[in-house]
């Protein structure tokens, strides 16, 4: 049963983690800063910066700020800010190794190999990530300007990489699918989202997840079953508390290739229904309606925010006849699909806050226009290896746990171009070739400190 309600210190946690800022914030910039001055000088700049950081405290509707600012650091960034080796050593192994060093494991090989990444990413040069969200372009430009001015005034700071992202109409991503609305339900924060967002229990019930799965310093799912109520491992105080780990990945999407492959493959599929075949790959129709609930045709409208919209599970569709076993959303969030009352999946949830980037490829265009477009993937989790990497490695890049042999998530592609996807049916349909639809253009593992931790970093009193 639910443990006693955990009170979150919202003023100490950065914003956009527990609750999304929301779709009012159309434009986002991610600026990776390299510190090229001594730690003391960097900390002076950092000190001024963190005064403006947005917390998780709720806003009254009328008082929504025009822009928000959030700050994250890499392991190299911690060192550049003067944190001791001992302090840095208290962070997770995986965070300290960095995403680029995990490339073989993550499937970032061939065209996604770190050697091909954008300059400034994965090279140890990214120290501090500033994320600026804005409601309107004018505010966005102003905020970016202020940020750059502050950096120039401080000196010894350089933006090594910047990505500007913008919502597409209808909250779609570039392959055309409504995305981002199914998030984990967190006890004490979003219990109302437990139906569909939480842990699937017997008899159709759900429960929210322990907050420590996403924010350090709080009880996680292991704490719940521990008579000693031990909290999960976290970086040394005051750095760990109220913080979380962040995964940032720039994923290029070859939209023209996707459209061409699906068009060609559909020729042998159910009377050429490309729309349906594509939905089978994703697990949702383009408007976001889940296939498992709407297996034959998309409903005319699908309100992703409507009560119960996310309340579905796969138990009644074990064979994948409605939603294929290897469909993208079923792989990345299996819910009850792995059986055993969700125990193989409940500790592998992530909060996702990504944004599409780049101009959309106009409808019906099947040849590449050379424009850089795709998804900035952002996730927050207490453990990068268990939550992000676990899903990427065991569920997306592999199929064994689902009984799919070596089949990988068709949507993401196979660098060797040799894969296939079984679309379950009577008879089944075998979809191939699995081209490289998505390419990793760069990424970083970061830590998002709590507000007190940010102040300690700025003061030089953090470990």
């Amino acid at each position: 049963m639910a443990s006693s309600a955990v009170r979150m210190d919202l003023g100490d946690i950065q914003g956009d983690i527990l609750r999304a800022y929301g779709n009012d914030y159309d434009c986002t910039s991610y600026a990776f800063v390299r510190i090229e001055c001594p730690p003391q000088q960097a900390r002076a700049w950092f000190s001024g910066l963190i005064d403006h950081v947005t917390t998780a405290e709720p806003w009254p509707d009328q008082a929504k700020p025009l822009t928000t600012l959030n700050v994250a650091v890499t392991a190299a960034g911690l060192r550049a800010l003067g944190v001791s080796e001992q302090g840095v050593g208290s962070f997770s192994d995986v965070f300290r190794s960095g995403m680029a060093s995990r490339s073989e494991l993550l499937g970032d090989v061939g065209p996604s190999d770190p050697a091909t990444w954008e300059e400034g990413l994965g090279s140890g040069d990214a120290h501090v990530l500033l994320t600026i969200n804005a409601q309107q372009t004018s505010d966005h430009q102003r905020a970016l300007g202020k940020m750059k001015d502050a950096m120039d005034a401080a000196g010894g700071l350089r933006i090594v990489y910047q990505e500007d992202a913008e919502l597409l109409p209808g909250s779609r991503e570039h392959f055309g699918y409504a995305d981002g609305f199914a998030q984990p339900a967190i006890e004490g924060t979003s219990d109302d989202k437990a139906r569909g967002g939480g842990v699937p229990l017997k008899k159709g019930a759900w429960r929210a997840l322990a907050p420590g799965e996403f924010i350090l310093g709080y009880p996680d799912e292991d704490t719940r079953v521990d008579p000693k109520r031990r909290l999960p491992n976290a970086p040394v105080d005051p750095l760990g508390r109220s913080g979380t780990y962040m995964v940032w990945r720039k994923l290029y999407q070859d939209v023209a290739l996707w459209r061409r492959v699906m068009r060609d493959a559909a020729k042998h599929y159910e009377g050429g229904d490309e729309h349906k075949l594509s939905a089978k790959v994703v697990g949702r129709w383009t408007n976001g309606a889940p296939l498992v609930k709407y297996p034959d045709t998309a409903p005319e409208r699908y309100g992703s925010k409507a009560a119960g919209a996310n309340d579905f599970r796969y138990g009644s569709d074990r064979d994948g006849m409605c939603c294929p076993v290897g469909a993208h959303i079923r792989r990345s969030n299996p819910r009850d699909a792995l059986g055993f009352e969700g125990h193989l999946s409940f500790r592998h949830r992530m909060i996702r806050r990504g944004m599409p980037y780049g101009k959309a490829l106009p409808e019906g265009v099947l040849s590449d226009d050379g424009v850089d477009r795709g998804l900035v993937f952002v996730s927050f989790q207490a453990s990068i290896s268990r939550q992000f990497e676990g899903v990427q490695v065991q569920w997306c890049n592999a199929g064994n746990i689902f009984g799919l042999g070596h089949d990988k998530d068709f949507l993401l592609g196979d660098p060797r171009g040799r894969g296939k996807m079984t679309i379950q049916g009577s008879p089944p349909f075998f979809l191939s070739p699995q081209e490289v639809f998505v390419r990793t253009r760069g990424g970083e593992y970061l830590f998002v400190p709590g507000i007190t931790a940010l102040a300690a970093l700025a003061d030089g009193t953090a470990g």
Binding site: E104, L105, G107, D222, T223, V225, D226, R230, P232, N233, D319, V325, G339, F340, H343, L344, R347, S385, R386, E389, G390, V393, Q394, N397, A398, N400, I401, G403, G405, H406, K408, T422, Q424, G425, S426, P427, P428, F430
Partner: protein
């Protein structure tokens, strides 16, 4: 330069040393020291588990193990000096498994899903914390685990699930292979369609 075949499948062997891995197969080797009451208890447990295969049903359902074994070492065979002669003070339990997937996922599954089974098999071992919470249990396994010095699978890229599905496919394909020649094309096409629908989870 190794003539070992280039891997076909993705890298899924996470959280374990490289020497414990051959393709998709992962080795885990654990020795634990058994308390006095494990001496009579474990043989009974083994006997019951052998007699009642239903007890290993969950293990089969989880499907990620090729072969696993538990053995109690009561005495080590004597081979002359400089080996020390004499009985062991305690019995020791040897556990090994050949499995697929990530180490962490494997141990998590044991913690949460095989909780009773884990307690039954390791409850009589010194130092064994309960299977839940998972963190101390994982630490216990890590502390008592020994990395293999050499590990071998004759079909390294095949997971246990793939093997089982391949065997199931073979059984279902046999009748079709046997009858295919004799059927007229339309009958064959219908039979093939039925067959494919039946074996789609094997492919």
């Amino acid at each position: 330069m190794s003539v070992h075949a280039a891997p076909v499948g993705p890298i899924t062997a996470t959280g374990t040393q490289q020497r414990n891995v051959d393709g998709q197969a992962i080795a885990i080797t654990v020795f634990s020291t058994i308390k006095w009451w494990g001496r009579p208890f474990l043989p009974v447990l083994f006997l019951l588990t052998r007699r009642f295969p239903a007890l290993t049903r969950i293990l089969r359902e989880l499907s990620f193990i090729h072969f696993a074994r538990w053995s109690v070492v009561r005495r080590i065979p004597y081979n002359g000096p400089p080996q020390r002669k004499g009985r062991l003070r305690y019995p020791h339990m040897y556990f090994e498994s050949n499995f697929n997937g990530g180490w962490e996922e494997y141990i998590d599954a044991f913690s949460h899903i095989l909780t009773r089974g884990m307690t039954a098999f390791w409850g009589s071992s010194y130092g064994f914390p309960k299977p839940l919470p998972t963190a101390p249990f994982k630490k216990y396994i890590q502390d008592n685990e020994t990395e293999a010095d050499h590990y071998y699978s004759t079909y390294p890229e095949a997971t246990s699930t793939i093997v089982q599905r391949a065997l199931a496919l073979d059984a279902k394909l046999a009748p079709l292979k046997r009858d295919a020649e004799r059927m007229d094309p339309d009958a064959f096409a219908a039979a093939y369609r039925t067959f494919l629908t039946d074996v789609q989870d094997c492919l």
